[in-house]
């Protein structure tokens, strides 16, 4: 066992820390509570922040250099995420482009597609959203019904996507569409579509936070050049699975850093509010303990990556751990803070260290997106425990 970062990884981390000290003027929490910001200006802020990171060479860390990456590994990527969280840096704007589509193009795309799409993706000139879920296809993604019919050198898309994260802010969408109605998995293709193409309608959906980070996208006889097909016809499911493995990634350490910062703020708030009785201490203690366990799992995942092994079902374990903990954490935070914890961030008297109300609401999303907790448990039951499958 050796849980210490290698000298090279330590060097990478220290350089990143120095860069953050020099370039991160305000924490994300400070940006959020600046009354001059609205939802749009926050998005534009994230675009500028992404460009700074890109120019410094911190995006596409584990991509080959020829595609604008750094040629590093998943370890540097996990360290990057962990340090960004520890510094409370804003998220980049093009999370889905860089997090999901980039790897898909690198693994499955054509040279022309990489050349065309990766540079503006990294520079935040083109923002991407993910067209996977549909009204009738969520956890059971393979039952998706949006169709793509080949007509000459174009696909014609018809259907509807929903819970499309960044839909209202994006320029492009990557779509899973059905090219063969008879083949459940092999009849799905992966297609790139510009959102201003005639026949595409994007409607923002208001979330329980009041924000509209996601939306729904309608396709009505939308003509997309055949050149926008990634991989071969019928390879969409396989590509999506590659992409989703990246999405789950190694985020345990980053999450532990993020929650650790907020836990420190909660502990300070408890002290200030006189919430130091035994019951409150026990509640706070359980949160601190669970976050340390999450940190340990994150360190283990990092070590797995450093050994050159690809995380398999471990990412399902990690996803359940952080997302379920987030809900317990935010719920307990409101217990400890009392009704003031529900105040919106600009309300008079609202505490400023963390937007407790927003975090409470957001914690409800983590166990649903990117494979719900129930889907993760299915994955564990099948691939790790190898339990007999229920033959419906």
């Amino acid at each position: 066992m050796d849980l210490q970062l290698s000298p090279a990884h330590l060097k990478f981390r220290d350089e990143l820390r120095a860069w953050l000290r020099a370039n991160l003027r305000r924490s994300w929490h400070d940006e959020l509570r600046d009354p001059a910001h609205d939802e749009n200006s926050l998005m534009q802020f994230r675009r500028r922040w992404q460009r700074m990171l890109h120019e410094a060479g911190y995006l596409g860390l584990d991509w080959p250099r020829e595609w604008g990456g750094r040629g590093a590994t998943a370890v540097e990527k996990a360290i990057f995420e962990a340090e960004m969280a520890a510094a409370d840096a804003p998220q980049i704007l093009n999370t889905l482009g860089i997090g999901l589509l980039g790897p898909a193009l690198i693994h499955h795309g054509s040279e022309e597609q990489r050349r065309r799409f990766i540079p503006p993706m990294l520079a935040a000139d083109e923002i991407w959203c993910q067209g996977f879920s549909e009204p009738g296809a969520g956890s059971d993604l393979a039952s998706l019904k949006t169709t793509a019919v080949l007509d000459g050198d174009h696909f014609v898309l018809n259907g509807q996507k929903v819970w499309t994260t960044f839909g209202p802010w994006a320029d492009w969408i990557f779509v899973l569409a059905r090219t063969d109605p008879r083949d459940r998995y092999g009849g799905i293709s992966f297609i790139l579509c510009k959102l201003d193409t005639p026949g595409v309608t994007v409607r923002p959906l208001r979330q329980i936070t009041g924000e509209s980070e996601f939306g729904e996208v309608f396709f009505e006889d939308v003509r997309v050049p055949r050149a926008n097909l990634v991989g071969q016809i019928g390879e969409g499911w396989r590509i999506a699975m590659t992409v989703l493995a990246y999405e789950r990634g190694a985020v345990g350490l980053a999450m532990a850093n993020r929650y650790g910062r907020d836990l420190g703020a909660l502990a300070a708030a408890c002290r200030e509010l006189g919430r130091t009785d035994a019951a409150s201490r026990e509640k706070l203690g359980r949160l601190v303990v669970e976050n340390e366990v999450l940190r340990a799992a994150g360190v283990r995942m990092l070590a797995t990556l450093a050994e050159g092994r690809a995380p398999g079902a471990e990412s399902s374990i990690e996803k359940i751990m952080w997302s379920e903990f987030d809900k317990r954490f935010r719920e307990t935070a409101l217990d400890l803070l009392g009704p003031g914890g529900q105040l919106l961030r600009h309300a008079p008297g609202a505490r400023s260290e963390v937007d407790w109300a927003r975090e409470y609401l957001w914690s409800r999303a983590g166990t649903i997106y990117s494979g719900s907790s129930e889907v993760q448990r299915n994955i564990i039951a099948k691939r790790v425990l190898e339990l007999p499958q229920d033959g419906r």
Partner: protein, 350 residues
Amino acid sequence: MRFALSEDQALLQRATREFFAAEFPMACNRRVMEADGPGFEPAGWARLAAMGYLGLTVPAARGGQGLGAVELAVVLEEAGRHGVPGPLLDVMLAAALLAAAPDDTGLLADVLAGRRLAVLARADALYAGAPGPAATFAGGRVRGTKYFVPFAGSADALLVTTAGEVVVAEGPFAAVPLPTFDPAQRFAQVDLDRAATRLGPLELLEPVDQLAAVGASAMLLGIMQTLLDTTIAYTRTRHAFGKPIAAFQALQHRMADMLVRTEATRAAVYRAAWCLDTRDPDAALACAAAKAWAGDAARLVAGEAIQMHGGIGFTWELDVHFHVKRVKTLEQHYGATSAQLERALVAAGY
């Protein structure tokens, strides 16, 4: 960077697994636990000593193996997994404490060789929240009453905590048995009024407490693994409504949660052990977190194991209850959860 065990550690794990499987099969463990005897078998105990397990973390210069907390966790995880009864953890901790002070009487050497048995006597009360008076040490005598002293009836020496220091009292002791529902453990009350020698200040206990947290958590981890394995095996063979009950999603998701807790415990235990061995600044927090978490996690795993076995899970015949009972002992001793939560908060600076 590597989470996996080193070659030597993996070798220790394999050897220990084979040793426990051969020397401590569950059928024999059951006989020892069910008997009215001392709660361990002298011949088996002698073999444990001969293998060098008792002084695993004791420096080589003091007659031990000079290994670290990671190796301790490896051995105790296997002990938990195989349901090995007896004072293994208790004596390992006593040896670690004895090794922290000069050994003028040869007690440490005797303990490591299995010639004498020493354990810690800590608890000043039977119930939480009602601490009795601490034992005192004055004029070369220790006076007071200690509760839940492990295997006191077999002990040749007790390492007794008093108001200000740790002292060594030599036996035999008039131990009043405190039978609990856990047959793997023999607890007793010991009334002390006898000559004793000072071992050192209470501060000696801090590293021992951290080792105890890692060791008990590692045993909990091993037990959780056994309970999960047993539950999976049972639900795969037990049929209801025309199929193995393991095919029902209601049970699959619960077994998935058992795995999540078990693997989270594994990460926490071995990280804590590594932090101890490398004197990492996170060590205190990691040890407290591992023990507090393992206690809670094992509760869930133990409860689910009984529930998913159904009626047979409530029988004495099945091994499950022995493991479940041990879980409770390990959770409430060796730094109970409430104490570990407070330690974690203090270590985190809160």
